[in-house]
C-alpha cells in the first residue's frame, strides 16, 4: 500500500475492530501517530489492564474485576430478583436508570436459530442452578424485543416457570418521544395489551 510498513500494520489492526472501515481506520491511525508519548502509553496500559484484570463474575457472568462482581457482592442489592440480559452492556443501560435494585444474569447472547446459536450455547444452565439454589422470587426477562430476544424470553419462560419462580418480561410499547404514525402493528398491539390505568 501507500503507507509506511508500521503504519499499514496499525491501519490493518484497527480495521479489524467492529464498525471500523478502511477510512475510519486510517483516520484513527493518523490520530494515534500524532498523540504524545504519554497518551500513547496510557492507551496501551488501559488495553493491557483490561485484558489482564477483567474476568467474568462467577455468579452473573458480567465483566468483573474479581471473582464476584460489584453488583453481586453488594449487600444493598436485592438478591431475590434476577434481571436476565443478553450482554454485559445491557446491564450498563439498566444501571444508568438507577431504578433497579436486584441482581443480573448475563446470558452472553440470545437464541438465534439462523446463526446456529441454540440454548446450549448460552448461560442458561447457570441461571437454572442459581434458581434451584433457592431464595429467588422473581426473574425479569430483559432481552431485546427482537425476534431473537423474544424467542429467548419465551424459551426461558417455558423452562423457568416449572421451577415455581415468578417470571416477568419487560414491557414493550411506544417509545418515549415516539410517533404513533411510525409505530408498527406489533408495537401498537403490545402497547394496547399492556396498557395501564393512570
Amino acid at each position: 500500500m501507500h503507507y509506511a510498513r508500521p503504519l499499514a500494520k496499525l491501519v490493518g489492526a484497527l480495521e479489524r475492530l467492529p464498525g471500523i472501515g478502511p477510512k475510519s481506520a486510517q483516520r484513527l491511525a493518523f490520530h494515534l501517530l500524532h498523540i504524545s508519548e504519554d497518551e500513547t502509553r496510557s492507551l496501551i496500559e488501559a488495553i493491557t489492564e483490561v485484558k489482564e484484570k477483567i474476568t467474568q463474575c462467577k455468579v452473573c457472568y458480567n465483566f468483573a474485576e474479581a471473582d464476584i462482581c460489584n453488583i453481586c457482592s453488594s449487600p444493598k442489592r436485592e438478591k431475590d430478583t434476577i434481571c436476565v440480559v443478553a450482554e454485559p452492556r445491557d446491564i450498563i443501560a439498566i444501571e444508568k436508570t438507577n431504578e433497579f435494585r436486584g441482581t443480573y444474569h448475563v446470558l452472553q447472547g440470545v437464541i438465534s436459530p439462523m446463526d446456529g446459536i441454540g440454548p446450549d450455547m448460552l448461560r442458561i444452565r447457570e441461571l437454572m442452578a442459581r434458581i434451584t439454589g433457592g431464595g429467588i422470587k422473581e426473574i425479569i426477562l430483559a432481552t431485546n424485543p427482537t425476534i431473537e430476544g423474544d424467542t429467548t424470553a419465551m424459551y426461558l419462560a417455558g423452562i423457568l416457570k416449572p421451577l415455581g419462580v415468578k417470571v416477568t418480561r419487560i414491557a414493550h410499547g411506544m417509545p418515549v418521544g415516539g410517533d404513533m404514525d411510525y409505530a408498527d402493528q406489533a408495537t401498537l398491539i403490545r402497547a394496547l395489551e399492556w396498557r395501564r390505568e393512570i
Partner: protein
C-alpha cells in the same frame, strides 16, 4: 441514485456499525436483495420494526454502489401472533432461512413470494405450524422445479398407489419400489397415508390446508422425509432446523 419501491419480506438481518442494519429482503418484483437500513437500531427509528425478521411491507430503496439504501417503508404486517409463540417463531425462522439459502440474489419468483407470504399468514392464524411448514416445503420445492414424484416408482414407473411397502429416495426425488431393483442407499420407508398427505399438501390452497387433519405420526414421517430431501437438494442442513428439533425433544 435511482429509487424503486417493492413489496418485500425480511429474510435476514445483521447489525452493522453503531446503529445500522443490513437486511436481506425477499421482494416480489426483484427477488432476494441486500439493503442497508441506516439508524435502524435506534429506539426511535422508523426502520426498527420494518427491519425485524419476517416483517412484510412496501420498501422504497435507493440504488447504491454495493448495497441499496432503505429510504422509506410502510409496514403491512409484522405477524404479532408468530412473534409471541415459540413454536411458530421457530418454524417461521426456518422458512426464512430456507428461502434465503436456496434462492439466488435478484432472481424474482412471484410464486415463491406469494407462497411465503400466504404461509406466514397461515401461521399467524391458529394453525399447527408444523403442518403449515410441510405445505411450504413441498410447494417451495415444487416452485423450484424439484417436485417429488409421489404416485409411481421413479425407476420403473409402476404405480405405487396400491403398494403397501413404500420408500422415498431423496437423491432420486420420489418414490421407489423394491420390485425393479435393490433399494437406493438413502431410501426412507414411508406409509401410504403419509404419501397421500404429501400429495394433498403439495397442491392444496391455504383454505384446504387449514382444514386438513393430519395425525402427528404422519406429520413427523413427512417432516423426516422432507428434511432429507431438502438437505440433498440444498447440499446442507438449515441451521434453524437444530433449534426446531430441540423444541420438539424438550
Amino acid at each position: 441514485m435511482p429509487v424503486y419501491t417493492t413489496s418485500a419480506i425480511v429474510l435476514r438481518r445483521m447489525n452493522f456499525g453503531e446503529t445500522d442494519r443490513i437486511v436481506t429482503l425477499y421482494s416480489r418484483e426483484y427477488g432476494k436483495l441486500g439493503a442497508i437500513a441506516k439508524g435502524a437500531r435506534k429506539g426511535l427509528s422508523r426502520f426498527a420494526a420494518a427491519t425485524e425478521l419476517l416483517a412484510y411491507g412496501r420498501y422504497q430503496l435507493a440504488t447504491g454502489r454495493t448495497l441499496d439504501v432503505l429510504s422509506q417503508v410502510e409496514i403491512k404486517e409484522s405477524f404479532p401472533s408468530i412473534h409471541t409463540n415459540l413454536s411458530k417463531v421457530a418454524h417461521a425462522t426456518y422458512l426464512a432461512e430456507l428461502v434465503d439459502k436456496m434462492l439466488e440474489e435478484r432472481d424474482p419468483n412471484p410464486n415463491i413470494f406469494d407462497l411465503l407470504l400466504s404461509t406466514l399468514y397461515l401461521m399467524e392464524r391458529p394453525n399447527d405450524p408444523e403442518k403449515i411448514t410441510l405445505m411450504f416445503e413441498l410447494q417451495f420445492m415444487k416452485a423450484l422445479g424439484y417436485e417429488p414424484i409421489l404416485d409411481r416408482c421413479l425407476r420403473c414407473g409402476a404405480s405405487q398407489s396400491n403398494s403397501t411397502e413404500l420408500f422415498f429416495s431423496p437423491s432420486l426425488g420420489g418414490l421407489v419400489c423394491r420390485v425393479c431393483g435393490p433399494l437406493p442407499e438413502d431410501a426412507i420407508p414411508i406409509t401410504g397415508p403419509a404419501v397421500r398427505a404429501m400429495q394433498e399438501l403439495i397442491s392444496a390452497d391455504a383454505r384446504a390446508v387449514e382444514q386438513m387433519e393430519i395425525p402427528p405420526a404422519t406429520i413427523s414421517q413427512i417432516s423426516h422425509v422432507m428434511r432429507w430431501y431438502i438437505r440433498y437438494r440444498a447440499d446442507r442442513d438449515m441451521k434453524s432446523r437444530e433449534f426446531l428439533d430441540s423444541l420438539k425433544l424438550g
